[in-house]
Symmetry: none
Subunit: 244 residues, 2 copies
DNA sequence: CAGTGGTCTAGACCACCGG
DNA sequence: CGGTGGTCTAGACCACTGC
């Protein structure tokens, strides 16, 4: 693997996976076709087998190819459209695939001490400042989701000046965070709406809601943000695509 | 790594990841603590570094630990919920990471014509045979999930002879399906239990349940199975890990 | 600086698949 | 059977972390 610009130096396994991705995009490796055997790729890229396998692992994890023992590695049939749940994106990024108009109303946007939210999923100095965001998302003017977010201001300085009616939280985080957003975790539960939630979603308290708890991590493992989301599944469904 | 029973022979890296999972469950490795360094684990298990890394990779993918360059591998905060959602696995595969005992009761196991389930997510000959499975999953004898599955017998011949109290559906599908399981799709909703569901889960009809609709595809894109799952989120939480 | 994980090599043996 | 991927070893060098 030649590499001309030292600034663009990427691990060899990433260069290989990108080269293969490119062949798949161009149609040189059509859907359903078999990739060259690992031994062939070793020779072609002049690397050890472990490096080829590391590259193929990435493509498998991305759902681009599927490796079958004793048979080979095959280009997957057409990639499913981006799903809301599989990669780390904000709710608005995923809902925006819909044709309906998405609007956001900010109910509260305050700076609070960490002691005001002891459930924050990592231990904080009680005096640390958090940005508290309380919003309602509507599709075609029907409220469908209530979102409460807590953001560590020390890890996203200046984010409190954002207009969150027009800017998605993830967009602001990408710009302001001291590190890169790296991973997240979501849990799903079913709950009944409490009075406050029911009011803003204009439903009764006996309606079951989809409740998501989310945590967003930076590269270094620090929790930069966490959120509670209640969704009315009569109006929005959470879907995800899965890879074996 | 000694291995006495050749029938139970598992790859060494899986034995190591299970050993570490067990230490985490038992509290020997508490939340937030650092795992032994890879070099230490090499000595302890008498394996090469690559094998240790393969084991840690599994735990990372399952969201149980988080590895940080130059620092170490840490036990993740939060309950170790099984991450059912990121890769295509059956419910039992994901719940089995819990320390509780998982049991399955089969309520019905019948062959029905496709006409009996018009909601099947692909167009079928009304006379085609489907295996209908109706099961209850319990953790420590508390019923936590009700599962209804419809499997196309023509794509998984002989699967109707399986004992589904001891064999997971995905295990049977892996063995019987005419192609490889390749992908799937899940949707999440919150619903109220109807009378029948409430009875089997021993809850009232006003309890909100997590409702999952799932579809499983083969390599060639054919729908081989679909299912409806109701889960009591007071007892089980669905979690997923997300990568940016 | 020492310790950690990330990458990479060059071999080896095995299990699975298909003809 | 030959070809494929799955596992595993025993090294090596490097980048990042924290003291």
């Amino acid at each position: 693997m030649a590499e001309t610009d030292p600034n663009l130096m990427l691990p060899i396994h990433e260069q290989i996976s990108e080269a293969l991705r490119s062949r798949i995009r161009s149609g040189e490796l059509p859907v359903g076709s078999r990739l060259p055997a690992e031994s062939t790729l070793m020779e072609e890229f002049s690397v050890a087998r472990g490096t080829v396998r590391r590259a193929l692992r990435t493509l498998n994890e991305q759902g681009i190819v599927q490796t079958l023992q004793g048979k080979g590695t095959y280009v997957r049939s057409g990639r499913p459209e981006p799903s809301i749940a599989q990669t780390l994106v904000g709710l608005s990024e995923s809902l925006s695939y819909s044709e309906k108009s998405l609007t956001t109303t900010v109910l509260r946007q305050d700076i609070v001490p960490a002691s005001a939210y002891p459930e924050f999923p990592s231990t904080l100095d009680p005096a640390e400042q958090l940005l508290f965001l309380d919003r309602v998302r509507s599709l075609d003017d029907i409220p469908v989701a209530r979102l409460k977010n807590w953001v560590r201001l020390s890890l996203a300085p200046g984010i409190d000046g954002t207009d969150f009616e027009t800017t998605a939280l993830f967009t602001a985080l990408d710009r302001r965070a001291t590190g890169h957003l790296s991973s997240g975790r979501r849990t799903f539960e079913a709950v009944l709406a409490d009075g406050d939630i029911a009011n803003t979603l204009r439903i009764s308290t006996s309606v079951p809601l989809l409740f998501l708890k989310q945590v967003t991590y930076l590269d270094d493992g620090a929790v930069v943000e966490c959120s509670d989301v209640w969704m009315d599944s009569q109006h929005v469904t959470v879907a995800m695509n899965l890879i074996r």
